[in-house]
Subunit: 429 residues, 2 copies
């Protein structure tokens, strides 16, 4: 089959990478065609703090010796891919990314008092409380234990914004990212210090995770999560954690709300009940029906979003591959459905293998747009049978107070007749 008719093949697209094709497709005209396009644009590279002008483009790059290798590579100065940052957070540019791995320097950030400067040579992790052998571990100690690596997403439970049409996936839900995390299983350390499967009187145990940042970020976590799949992580995407991600050591709780994966981890205390910290009382709770408040809502509910086409791109009629991400904190994604008629009919999207547990999954669905105004949206179902709800279903479940955490509604994009793609802000606050 052919995705473009010949004419489209020769017609420049409305795209920043637009190019005109020579009418005659010989190699001579190919190179000639390229040679006729002058490059005026000058921009900076995204290497922090450095200004690199775009190198002059030779008419024929094969006639100029290239740049030799260096100690580290760099992005192309033609690529502007950055996070939108505020004083407390920065958001991953989901609409600009491909596949499922987030480059470490584009992983979202959400801090409660900024990124502390911690010296790995003096770093220590204390594990104490209801344990047989209170112990302080150096970074070197932690790296000597048996290690584990896992590709998984990390999402902030406050990852939802709406309110206007001109919002990109980054603005709507850019507080989710994915990395390959490496560290030691917390269960290994629990055995090392002598944590009993549950506390003395049989009540389910808890532990306090405390960060070394200026907010002393602290959360109470059920012991079972520590025994299950918690990781004391010191590496991300092959290299040491980035400072913004908890360098030198963070807690990583697969599938749980981001704030529980405490960064710059300095202390774990084992006890038999939650500590009722600031971050689980005044923050990170949701209102539910009847004016009640839901506390300790750890699991990230299944969610999906179409990242292409999405604001700010403009599309042309014809074949479009709808692309997006889907994930669930409760296990594997089993189904992603896409609607191209505002939710009337749904079709199964293709999932990129391998589909991993508690991980972002790339979904794709081929669609031929006829140029008529419509809405496109996606919904995910995970292995527990949970299906991503609509905004109305969430409001109904939460009652008047929508809280603002764990808000994962189906996200719809309006496709205008001129090809503009806009957020559908059905849900003004």
């Amino acid at each position: 089959m052919s995705f473009f008719d010949k004419q489209q093949n020769l017609k420049p697209e409305r795209d920043e990478n637009q190019s005109t094709h020579p009418p005659k497709l010989t190699r001579r005209t190919l190179l000639g065609g390229a040679a006729t396009v002058a490059v005026a644009v000058v921009q900076t590279s995204w290497t922090k703090g450095v200004q690199i002008g775009i190198p002059e483009q030779p008419d024929d790059p094969t006639r100029r010796m290239g740049i030799p290798p260096g100690e580290v590579g760099t992005r192309s100065p033609f690529e502007k891919v950055v996070r939108k940052a505020s004083d407390i957070s920065s958001r991953t540019p989901l609409q600009d990314l491909h596949g499922t791995i987030t480059p470490s320097d584009l992983h979202f950030e959400r801090h409660h008092n900024g990124v502390p400067a911690i010296n790995p040579a003096t770093y220590e992790l204390l594990i104490h409380g209801q344990v047989e052998r209170p112990t302080v571990f150096s970074l070197a100690d932690l790296k000597r234990f048996p290690s584990v690596s896992r590709i998984a997403f990390l999402e902030c439970s406050g990852n939802f914004r709406t309110g206007k049409e001109t919002m990109s996936p980054q603005e709507i839900c850019g507080l989710t990212s994915q990395s390959e995390w490496t560290g030691v299983r917390l269960s290994t350390l629990f055995r090392e210090v002598g944590v009993k499967p549950d506390s003395a009187d049989g009540r389910p145990g808890w532990f306090l995770a405390e960060g070394g940042d200026a907010a002393v970020m602290s959360r109470s976590i059920p012991l079972r999560k520590g025994w299950d799949d918690a990781i004391i992580a010191y590496a991300q995407n092959g290299e040491a954690l980035r400072p913004e991600q908890g360098y030198p050591v963070r807690l990583f709780l697969p599938g749980w709300e981001g704030n529980t994966s405490v960064k710059w981890l300095r202390r774990l205390e084992i006890g038999d009940q939650p500590w009722q910290t600031r971050e689980e009382t005044s923050k990170y709770t949701e209102g539910i029906k009847g004016g009640k408040i839901r506390q300790f809502s750890f699991d990230i509910d299944a969610r999906s979003i179409i990242t292409f086409p999405a604001y700010p791109v403009q599309v042309e009629r014809g074949w479009i591959e709808i692309r997006g991400l889907a994930w669930s904190g409760r296990g594997k994604v089993v189904l992603v459905e896409v609607s191209t008629d505002a939710g009337k009919r749904w079709q199964r999207a293709d999932l990129q293998e391998p589909v991993l547990d508690k991980a972002h999954v790339r979904f794709r669905h081929l669609w031929q747009w006829n140029g008529a105004e419509t809405e496109i949206m996606s919904r995910v179902t995970d292995e527990t049978g949970y299906t991503q709800p609509t905004f109305a279903q969430l409001i109904d479940a939460r009652g008047a107070d929508t809280g603002g955490y764990h808000f994962n509604p189906i996200t719809a994009w309006q496709i205008k007749p001129d090809g503009r793609v806009l957020n559908r802000p059905e849900n003004w606050r």
Copy 2:
């Protein structure tokens, strides 16, 4: 079980992250202990071209407001992880990395005339020759086709060095790296331009892949690889290809020798026989027995290497997790065995799931070193039944001329009584 006896837990290790532990493990002494350690070291960060001093370490980081988020993250100035670079190549620091993903700026490079400056706005890919519809594709055209993502390794067929004891994994075989690649299947473009499954007279077809660099790097590839799993890649680890990796578009042939994954791809010509280019006659061939030369040896043979412990680390007696990477260009790794007694006995190592096709796999094996001098080594077996050979087996198969390509011998590390780990250069050239 306990991996350290108590004494070890309190004893500083011979490690750059060395720290002393307070004798009494209360939180007060923990912080007090940290506060007594002054930080004198000053080094530069690895953000290319920028000098960033290490921030002064507050006695208690919780008492100082941290750094707010930015548009892109940075490495910790305490982490020096770089590639060893020459005029023609740079090598991934395998001994410093964790898991299986290689950060894009640490992916190895091997160029034949440097990195060209290519403007994505004028980039074009010509597909012509024995096709029904010769076509020029812009970058925007390529991005509109159905896409695919795949985590796979890329290795240079010349990835072997030895000759002295003081060599790290980076120096021995740092010309292999792993990324998640995204692009359009070449088979999709073959259908678009009308390539027949094989050429008119029934002979197996070939295509020429030509790069836009100053070497006009060119290789002849059997059509079947294009129909099988070849990718026209425009993204790597979530973002656009790096310039050093072929920006804006490269050919990616999973499991095949790196030079065939032609970077800065500008032309594909379909024909019925190989072009006998410079890179498949004077280069990238191996001598075999009887003075013959092996040509078109595309597949990367199965290989493994222990990356920890490895030169230059020094270890202490006690529990050590042996860690390494294993891969095969012919499919999945099914078995990695580790010997800790110079090859007399072999034990099955643990493989980190998921084990992917034609991908680096992280293996681990727990070992208690008694302090006696020994040698440790690993060998891999892939799903075809092929087992990584010894150096002697390779020399025997190749005859006098070892060629230098596709040389994948078992790599052994000497463990000295003082804990030094040294390459075993049994195979001086």
